[in-house]
Symmetry: C2
DNA sequence: TCATCTACGTGCGCTAGCATACAGACGACA
DNA sequence: TGTCGTCTGTATGCTAGCGCACGTAGATGA
């Protein structure tokens, strides 16, 4: 396991950047700009014209939609497995969702035009990003399904597991209030669900710190959505090295 | 308004095909295969390797996810505004959802390889399909949001409006049971919501036929999700003619 | 015209999750 | 060490939507 905090940031911590052929990586490397991403930072609001894509390394970002009445719901999450700002590649340049940091850390950003130039070469970079886009679509789809049919506890498990997969440690720095905001449920609902999981011995926590003790237990308690998303990411992005 | 049934199928009824520059359209036209799509036809199951993309003209297809316990939930819908099978372009070649026809009609299909060849030229076809993909993502996202926060009645309005936008008439051939299956709710819930809408004078129906009388009324009764999706489709795909 | 099937209406008890309110408890910081 | 703001636990009612069950009315075909 990698030490979460002491480690020096490196672009290769991002799985997509790590999967690029050397030639391409070296071509874009000079343009990668290290960015510190503190908790709560908003990378873009709904409707903003995006100027960069962000390859995250240690930070985790939530894409969520803010409703007219102020309520919100998470659409998907992005961490070291992916990239933020695919709408630049799709040609829309903006989305209806907002992107905010829920786990502080770092990432590397690339200017819109640099990204576009590389994407439009049509090689491995394009293939990689399109595959990631499909994986992201699967994640969003599964959010829809999960919101429809699954309990708060199941959704909490799914969310914690997906978040955990993006971190080097098994401790999450998160308040229940924050999680509730992500899932679009009441804080009390999270308190109850988290209480159950703690009593069952799957997690333990103190104010703002959740430690996952029994990962397998959590997976059993989660709905199928977690596995669906994870398997699809694996299928689409695991054998990237062979793509060159 | 176009006559729904008597009309001869033509590829240009599909908005994406209609938006293509003449040169490109004529290049692929010989490969377009007219397909009749009866109610209930399954174009692909979860996990199937896709062999074609489908440009729909009069049919409407639902992308939905079937859960382990047999329940289901719609992820998005596709009609004459779009194309079915973007996962071919994304490189995944399959998805976790199934695609089934909920409004009978026609469409044109294109073999995987023909589609890929054209897409990989990187011109207007690629730009068009990527923009459509982003619009589809917005639709899926909004499904997630809607499932989280909105009432069955609001969701029904959204769904009917989105379906209506894909049809030339204002009559839908659909049972309440079918709609319930799409939305992932009970049939009784649809009965109740539809009853309210009928009493309010927005729709009228007889067994399996829903006629929308007051479209604006429906929009007022729907949640914001309908407008968000519609606006985003408009923004991303409306000025396609100018793209050449 | 009748039989039958399918779609639609309705009622009843139940539960998850909501809104609101309040109390205790941890931890940062002075 | 004490204070205070924030986070967490818990209680009470309320409502939307669920599961189940049954009745009725269009449609369809012999």
């Amino acid at each position: 396991m990698v030490s979460p905090l002491s480690e020096q940031p490196s672009p290769k911590q991002n799985h997509l950047l790590a999967a690029l052929p050397t030639e391409i990586f070296e071509r874009i490397a000079p343009y990668l700009e290290l960015i510190k991403l503190p908790l709560g930072e908003v990378l873009y609001e709904s409707g903003d014209q995006l100027q960069h894509v962000y390859f995250l390394t240690s930070a985790i970002v939530s894409l969520n939609y803010l409703m007219e009445n102020g309520a919100s719901a998470e659409i998907a999450g992005v961490g070291n497995e992916g990239v933020l700002g695919v709408s630049i590649l799709m040609g829309g340049n903006t989305t209806t969702s907002r992107a905010s940091v829920h786990t502080a850390g770092h990432g590397y950003r690339l200017k819109r035009q640099v990204m576009m130039n590389e994407f439009n070469r049509g090689g491995p970079m394009m293939a990689l990003l399109l595959r990631y886009t499909q994986a992201l679509m699967t994640q969003i789809s599964q959010t829809a399904v999960c919101n429809r049919h699954h309990s708060v506890e199941q959704q909490l498990c799914r969310w914690l597991l997906l978040t955990l997969d993006r971190l080097p440690s098994n401790e999450l720095i998160l308040t229940q209030e924050l999680i509730a905001g992500m899932l679009g449920v009441r804080r009390e609902g999270i308190t109850e669900a988290a209480g159950n999981l703690q009593r069952a011995g799957f997690i333990s926590y103190r104010r703002g710190h959740i430690t996952v003790i029994d990962r397998l237990g959590m997976e059993g308690r989660s709905c199928e959505c977690y596995k669906v998303v994870k398997n699809e990411f694996h299928r689409l992005l695991n054998d990237l090295g062979r793509h060159e």
